[in-house]
């Protein structure tokens, strides 16, 4: 390197012009210049790597001690060198310049949230740790569970203008080669202008980006990801995101949670069945109400019909409008509850559920029976363990209500037909989204065999028979 020492500092200053949190500090009596962004600096680390080395000793001895632990930086040319210096500084490292030599030391980046349990994926039994907003910590949570070099993690820079990092994880020998190569190809071709969360990456990696149904499962639980990896899936950890996305997925995977494995098999399978039932309920209840009250009175036993007619006597709207109104109110309440602090959200829930619901009925804007239908439908949607799928269901429910309002049961059946055809056609990482052979594994548990998912290489849970 031909440039003088002061040039590196000057060049760095020029690069970081108007970056006021860049600190350029001369230490050891001006023999060495260190540069770092103080907002990213971990003060304890700073003490360990700078202060502890320089205090109470001669500056030359301190300098030698410092240089012995610092990593030298080298580049092919000035531009390359400057790029490396910048990269280390923005990553929270300390870059030091001494006598035309540049070195760096990791001082720890800004602090992260500590490992806590996941707020959106609770389990009663089983591990409670959840991912945080650091890819390194998240990777370590997985590595702690799968202690083998066969757990591969490939780092990709998926940023287009600025660096954004993501890691592709898979277990060699378990995940199928075509799945791995497809995931690698897609990651290599992925260049995004902004990556703030793992779900954004998943959307870009979808086989059918405009499909209503999610094709990657996002989870915050390391034990879930571990299980998926051990079942032959690949996982993408995105830096600064607690959401790890997994593929290829089967539609039924969205109705299974890791907690099922920790329960007794009969209960967990019952709950899975209940979730599927809730899924149907979420999509169909309000639409059925609309279809029955608009077109198909003959389907209702007389006693029930009487109740329904009585409840709708004062309602001025058509059943479709009535249902859309109530579903809209429910969605507003749900969204308000999700965005507000917990205690206020609880109040909103009570006010919305009891006061507004009762008031709407008394005002004659809707009938009691519809309140029951909409409430059941909303409640059922909460049982669906995957939030992304749940939101898809909520959107589809409105379409179903409109079809039921226009065409009755016929509209509902048409809706079901379109959904089923689309689901059968969807792929997740080139693998089938609806895999018929997976049905039995979803409902039954085997002591010996792992689920026969499409990507399963080793079928047996127990050793020696693979």
């Amino acid at each position: 390197m031909s440039v003088v020492q002061s040039d590196w500092v000057k060049l760095t200053r020029n690069e970081f012009v108007n970056v006021n949190d860049l600190t350029v500090e001369a230490i050891l009596g001006g023999q060495m210049t260190i540069m770092y962004i103080h907002h990213l600096l971990n003060k304890n680390e700073y003490h360990q790597v700078i202060t502890a080395f320089t205090q109470d000793s001669d500056s030359n001895i301190a300098l030698n001690r410092l240089m012995s632990v610092w990593n030298p930086l080298q580049g092919h040319n000035e531009q390359d060198m400057l790029a490396k210096i910048s990269e280390h500084i923005v990553n929270g490292d300390i870059v030091g310049v001494y006598n035309n030599q540049v070195g760096m030391i990791n001082s720890g980046a800004a602090s992260f949230r500590s490992i806590q349990s996941s707020a959106k994926e609770n389990v009663i039994t089983g591990p409670h740790d959840a991912f945080v907003e650091s890819a390194e910590i998240n990777a370590s949570l997985i590595r702690r569970r799968i202690r083998t070099p066969k757990l591969k993690g490939i780092k990709y820079n998926i940023g287009k203008d600025f660096p954004f990092y993501a890691y592709l994880f898979y277990v060699e020998g378990v995940a199928e080669e075509d799945v791995i190569s497809e995931a690698c190809t897609r990651m290599q071709n992925l260049h995004m202008r902004e990556v703030l969360d793992g779900n954004e990456v998943a959307k870009q990696m979808d086989d059918t980006p405009f499909a209503v149904f999610p094709q990657w499962i996002g989870t915050e639980r390391p034990d879930s990801v571990t299980q998926y990896l051990l079942n032959g899936k690949v996982a993408i950890i995105t830096d600064n995101s607690p959401t790890v996305v997994v593929a290829p997925v089967n539609f039924l995977d969205f109705f299974a949670v890791i907690g099922d494995n920790y329960e007794r098999w009969h209960f967990s399978r019952f709950i899975r069945f209940l979730r599927l039932f809730a899924f149907t309920l979420t999509l169909m209840t309000s639409a059925f109400y609309v279809a029955v009250t608009t077109y198909h009175y003959q389907f209702i036993p007389p006693t029930l019909l009487e109740t329904m007619i009585t409840s709708r006597l004062r309602v001025p709207f058509e059943p479709m409008m009535e249902a859309l109104l109530m579903e809209g109110v429910i969605e507003i309440l749900r969204e308000a509850g999700a965005r507000l602090p917990t205690k206020i959200a609880q109040t909103i829930g009570i006010v919305g559920g009891l006061v507004i619901g009762q008031a709407i009925v008394q005002a004659g804007l809707t009938g009691n029976v519809l309140i029951v239908a909409v409430a059941s439908s909303a409640l059922a949607s909460f049982i669906i363990p995957n939030y992304t799928l749940e939101t898809s269901m909520r959107a589809l429910r409105f379409i179903n209500i409109v079809l039921a309002g226009l065409m009755g049961y016929f509209g509902i059946v048409i809706f079901i037909s379109l959904i089923i055809t689309r689901l059968c056609h969807l792929r997740s990482l080139n693998k089938e989204y609806i895999d018929l052979s997976y049905f039995a594994d979803f409902f039954f548990w085997s002591k010996e065999k792992r689920p026969r998912s499409v990507v399963q290489k080793s079928y047996f849970r127990r050793g020696g028979r693979s």
Partner: protein, 389 residues
Amino acid sequence: MNPPIKGYAFAILLFMIVRGIIFFQLPSLVTKEFGTNSWVMLYVYTAVVIGHMYLIYKGSKKHKNASIWTIIHTHFPKPIATILIVIPSLLFWVVSFNLANAYARVLQFTSDPSVNIRSISIIILVVVLFTAAHGLYTITKTSVLYYLFSFWIVFFELLQFKDIEFVRYTPFFLKNGHLTFNGILDILGAFLAYETIMFMAPYLEKNTKWITYAALSALVIGTYYSMYCFLAQGLLPVEQIEDVRFVVLRLYGATQINALEYITDLLFITFIFSAILSASVYTWSGLEGLKTLQTKDRHKENLLIAGIIMIALCYVPFNFDESKLLFSISNTILVCFIVIFTLLYFILPYKENKASSDTANCDSTSNQSGAAPAPASSSSSSSEGVTQL
């Protein structure tokens, strides 16, 4: 690329596409033609169908699982091949329209006289086109799910067996029937759609002896039809059955489960799955025919043509009798083509290169109908997958 279709899925697909609209009036048709205890004749039809399936199987094996479209395209000069492919393809779309139209009419009969047959037919045909556009593999998978949704209904009917009056099963077989050629063909219409095997063969698993699954499926459908016919003839007098329009629907109404009485018509609605599947397979067969004639992939254009033809037919003001006539005529022509195609299997010699190109054809279709991976945003910059964590 889509994997080949498995045997069990193929059997279910056949069951679902064969169990069509005629099923609702089948006991009436059979009783009218063959008279007392005529349910037994449905097994004769089943035997005929299985025999024909076997012929198709043998012919298909002779041509190394080639589709009949490919065989025609390979052996005939282009003008003749075009006629032999385009006319049946158009006929298949007419059959699709017939199925949608017939379903809409039954819906009008069961649900509400104010149902607009044209609108309902168009909606069904849009769904049919949507399903057909996804290719045979998706249609097959859809059929398995539809089957799971709708097959359980049959168990309600089993409860009715204790209500039947054995007096009605006279010791006489096949008395008081009024046998006509058209009637025989109409009953055969209830078994049609299995002939689409001639176009499906390249998509089935190569090592599967698909005739076993096809025969099994035909046997189940024969038993299924016979059961409904047997029930109808046990529950109603022979003279009355002939006059009941959709006798199978009335059987649901007579069930012992009170709750079921209310949802009879709802149960009927689930049969739309079969109508959609049958029409989808016919539409897809027609599309396959056109594809054979084309050198470039014109899937969307073909789909548009099929859509225009079928929806245009919806605007022709057919009354009930004219619809029935169209149904009957198209069925008769269809049977003629089935016979011709079956003969072609055996008359035409096997040609190697075209048959193997058919396999490639199959793959390319699978690709087209399967979900291709969406390429991520294209740029040439900085992804370097190097660092191992």
